[in-house]
Amino acid sequence: MNWLVSPRTLRRQGVMGMNQRNLHFVGRYNPREAYPLVDNKLRTKRLAEKAGIPMPDLLHEVSRQHQIEAIEPNLSQLGEFVIKPAHGSGGKGILVIASRDRGAFVKSSGERVDLNHIKHLLTNIISGLYSLGGRSDDAIIESLVRTHPMFSKLSIDGVPDIRVIVFKGFPVMAMLRLGTHASDGKANLHQGAIGVGIDIQTGEGVGAVQRNRPLTKHPDTGEPLQGIAIPNWRDLLTLAARCHDVTGLGYLGCDIVIDAEKGPLLLEMNARPGLGIQIANGNGLGQRLKAIEALELFAPSLEERVDLAMNGLAGRAME
C-alpha cells in the first residue's frame, strides 16, 4: 500500500499531526491574547517597527470607504506597491503592482488593471471579504519587495518567502516557498506552490516537493531546484528568533523575504503554521520540538538560540 502510511512509521520519524500541533503546541505555547499581534498585519508592523525588526514599508492604510474614493492622488505618486488585507491569510486578497503604464497599473504577471479594479479590491478588503469570520478589515498598502536576483528564476509572479518555524525562540525548521502557475504565484503549498526544505544549520536546500510529490526542476521555468543556498542565513534566523521575543508566541511560523537591497525582511507571522514543511524537509518536527522542550537553559540569549539552532541542536536530537 503506498497511499497510506502506518502511524508507527510516522511516529518513528517524529511527524507531527494536526491534532498534536493544535493541542500540544499551538494550544499550550501560544497565549490567546498574542494572536491579534500576528493576525492583524497592521499591529505586526507597528510592533516590528518599535522593536526594529525590518519589514516592507507601510505606505498607506485604508479603513474607510471615503478613503477609497480619495485614494487616487496617493497612488499616483507610487510606481510599485502591494495591497493586502490586514487580516488576510493564505495570500488571499493580495494585489502586487510592479509598474505603471501611463494611467494603468501593471501587475507582476504583466496584466494591466485600472483604478476601478483597485478601488473594488479595497472595498472588498475593508468589508471583510478576506478576513476570518467576515469582520470588517483594514487594507494595507506597502512597498514592493524586490526579488533577490538568485530567486528571480525560481518563482512565478510573487516573491519567494522562507517560512521558519520558531519554537520557544529557537528556529527549528525552515522551508523556501516558490510560487508556480498552479498556485497563481502565491506561496501557499495548498494551492500548488513548491516547498523547498532548507537545512536549518546551513541554509541549503535539501529537496523540493509540490503537492506532496518530490521534484527536481521548477515546473514552469525549468530552473533546477537543487543546490539552492539562502544568503545571509544567520541574519535570517536571528530575525526569525526575534519574532518570538516581541510576540511572546511559543510556537510560530515566520515568513521572511529577502529583498535585493535591504536583505531579510519579515513579511508576516503565523500562530498556526501548517504541517507541510515536514514533507518539504523529509523530516518530522516532533523530535526537534521535544529536544527543545527538554533543554534546561535559563533564558538563553538571542545569539545563543541561533547558535544552538545552527549547531544542529535539532539535528543531534534526531540521531
Binding site: N2, L10, M18, H24, K92, S127, S136, Q278, I279
Partner: protein, 499 residues
C-alpha cells in the same frame, strides 16, 4: 488540566450518565429499544379562535371508538372555560363554554391512546340514509358513470376501487369532469356509491406520525364491506394498513363549531411513546419527575429533534478530529442533518444541492456589484428564499410533493453556505470548494444516518442522561493527539524513508 484528573472527570461523567440511565431503566421499566407494537400516542388538538365579546362556546367533534386503538384518557385543559364531553350518539363532542370572553383564545384537548392492532369494535351496519341525490344533468352523468363501472366490479369494495381509479384518471372522462365541477372528489365518490346502493360515508381522519405538529384532518372514504368499514384514500384507493390512521369524525356535525367567535381553527400535534413512558406520564403530578414526557406535546415533538443534536455533534467531532474531513463551517453539517431528518434524505439532498448550486451562480453575479458584506449576505438570504419558493412551486406543479420539504432548511444557514462556498471558490479554487462541499455533505449524511436510527432517537429522548456519556466521548476526542486518518495519506512521502 492534568491527565489523570481529566480522565477521572470523563469517567465520572460517563458513569453518572450510565448510572442514572440504568437506575431509571430498573425503576420505570422504560425499554431500552423502541418497541413496535402497542405504542402510546399522545394527541393534542389546539383550537384557536377570536372571541367577539360576550358568551362563547366551542364544540369539537371527538373520535369514535374504533378498531386498532384503545383510548386511555382525555382532558380538555383551558383556563376559565367550562368543559364537558357530550356522549349523546355515536359521535362524541367536547364542549367548552364561557360567559364573557373577548380576544384570541386557545383551547386544548388531549387524548392518550394505545395502538392495539388486534382490537376490534363491533359496529352495526348503519341504516341507509338518503344519499346526496344528483339532479338534472348530473343525475344522467352519474348514471352513465355507474353503468360503465358496475359490470366491471364484483362487490362494494371493487366498485369503490374502480371509482377512485376512474376519478383520478387524467384527463377524466366527460361525465366525470362534469360531476367534478359540482362535487369534491370525496363527496362525489360517496354519492356515487350511495346511488349504487353501497353503504359509504366520508370521514375525516388524522395520520399519526411521530413528532408532527400543526397537522390537519384529511378526507377519507369508508365503505361497508362484510360487517366492517373499509378505509379508502380518495386518491390512492384502499388503505390496507390503517394502524396509523385515526378516524376523527364521521357523519354530520362539523369537526369544530364555535359560537360567539370568529377565525376558528383546529390543528393537531402528536408524539408516540413506548408503553412504560405512559406510566411516567400518568404520574406527572409528581413535582420531582423531571422527564421530558411532562412537556406539552408540541414541545415534546420539538425535543425529540433537539435531543438528537448532541449525537450529530459527536459525529462531526469524530469526522473532523479522527478522520480529518474538511467541512465548510464547523457545525453546519449538523444543522443540515437536522433538516434532512424532516425532509427525508434524498429529497433533502437534491433540494440542498439545487439551491446551493443555483445560489452560487447568482452569487457570482453579485460579486460584480461590489457590495459590503452584510448587504451581500442579506441579498443572498433574499435570493435563497426566492430559489426555495421557485423550487417548491415547480416541484409541486410537477407533482413532486417532496420538493416542498426544502422549506425545512434554515434559510440563513443556506445563505451563509452559499457565501462561504463562493468565497472558497474564488480564493482557493473550485477544487477546494468541491472538497469542502463534499466533505460537509458527507458529514451531514453520516450525522443524519446516525441521528435517524430508531434506537438512537429512542435513547436520546427517553434517557436524556445518556447525553452525559456523549459529552464524555466528545471530551475524550478533544484530547486526542494522534494522527487523523487522512494524514496517514497526506504524509505518504515519509513511507520510503522508513527503514
Amino acid at each position: 488540566m492534568q491527565r489523570w484528573p481529566f480522565i477521572l472527570a470523563v469517567a465520572l461523567l460517563f458513569l453518572t450518565g450510565l448510572g442514572i440511565a440504568t437506575y431509571r431503566y430498573l425503576d420505570t421499566g422504560m425499554p431500552l429499544l423502541p418497541g413496535q407494537e402497542r405504542a402510546v400516542w399522545q394527541i393534542e388538538a389546539r383550537i384557536a379562535f377570536t372571541a367577539n365579546g360576550g358568551a362563547a362556546e366551542a364544540l369539537l367533534t371527538l373520535p369514535p371508538d374504533q378498531n386498532g386503538f384503545e383510548f386511555l384518557s382525555e382532558t380538555g385543559a383551558s383556563p376559565g372555560f367550562g368543559f364537558a364531553i357530550n356522549r349523546a350518539g355515536p359521535q362524541r363532542r367536547a364542549h367548552w363554554s364561557k360567559r364573557d370572553v373577548e380576544g384570541s383564545q386557545t383551547l386544548f384537548y388531549k387524548l392518550d391512546l394505545v395502538q392495539d392492532t388486534g382490537r376490534r369494535v363491533t359496529e352495526e351496519k348503519p341504516r341507509r340514509r338518503s344519499a346526496d341525490s344528483f339532479d338534472g344533468a348530473y343525475d344522467t352523468a352519474a348514471k352513465e358513470v355507474l353503468n360503465a363501472l358496475t359490470p366491471k366490479s364484483a362487490n362494494a369494495r371493487s366498485l369503490a376501487e374502480q371509482l377512485i381509479q376512474e376519478i383520478n384518471t387524467e384527463p377524466p372522462d366527460q361525465n366525470m369532469s362534469l360531476l367534478l365541477q359540482r362535487y369534491s372528489p370525496v363527496r362525489l365518490i360517496g354519492a356515487l356509491l350511495s346511488r349504487a346502493d353501497v353503504t359509504a360515508r366520508t370521514v375525516k381522519a388524522l395520520r399519526l406520525r411521530d413528532g408532527r405538529r400543526r397537522q390537519r384532518l384529511r378526507d377519507y372514504l369508508q365503505v361497508w364491506h362484510d360487517d366492517g368499514w373499509l378505509l379508502f384514500d380518495p386518491r390512492r384507493g384502499l388503505i390496507e394498513d390503517t394502524a396509523h390512521i385515526l378516524v376523527w369524525q364521521t357523519g354530520n356535525p362539523a369537526v369544530l363549531e364555535v359560537i360567539g367567535g370568529t377565525r376558528s381553527r383546529v390543528t393537531f400535534s402528536m408524539v408516540s411513546q413506548d408503553q412504560p413512558a405512559l406510566g411516567l406520564a400518568r404520574e406527572r403530578y409528581n413535582p420531582f419527575d423531571l422527564s421530558l414526557q411532562n412537556l406539552p406535546i408540541a414541545e415534546q415533538g420539538m425535543f425529540k429533534l433537539i435531543m438528537t443534536l448532541p449525537v450529530g455533534a459527536l459525529v462531526v467531532v469524530f469526522m473532523r478530529l479522527l478522520v480529518g474531513v474538511r467541512t465548510s463551517g464547523t457545525f453546519m453539517p449538523v444543522l443540515i442533518a437536522l433538516a434532512f431528518l424532516q425532509t427525508e434524505l434524498l429529497a433533502g439532498l437534491i433540494g440542498l444541492v439545487l439551491v446551493v448550486g443555483a445560489g452560487l451562480l447568482l452569487r457570482f453575479y453579485l460579486s460584480a456589484l461590489n457590495l459590503l458584506l452584510v448587504a451581500r449576505i442579506a441579498t443572498i438570504v433574499v435570493l435563497v428564499i426566492a430559489l426555495v419558493t421557485v423550487l417548491a412551486v415547480v416541484s409541486y406543479r410537477l407533482g413532486l410533493i417532496s420538493g416542498l420539504a426544502i422549506t425545512f432548511f434554515p434559510m440563513v444557514i443556506l445563505a451563509w453556505t452559499v457565501e462561504r462556498m463562493s468565497i472558497l471558490w474564488e480564493e482557493e479554487g473550485p477544487l477546494e470548494a468541491l472538497i469542502q462541499g463534499a466533505g460537509s455533505l458527507l458529514v451531514a449524511v453520516l450525522a443524519y444516518l446516525v441521528m435517524s436510527l430508531a434506537p438512537v432517537r429512542h435513547l436520546a429522548f427517553n434517557f436524556p442522561e445518556l447525553h452525559l456519556c456523549v459529552l464524555a466521548a466528545i471530551l475524550l476526542l478533544g484530547r486526542y493527539t494522534g494522527y487523523r486518518l487522512l494524514e496517514l495519506h497526506r504524509f505518504t512521502p515519509f513511507l520510503k524513508r522508513s527503514p
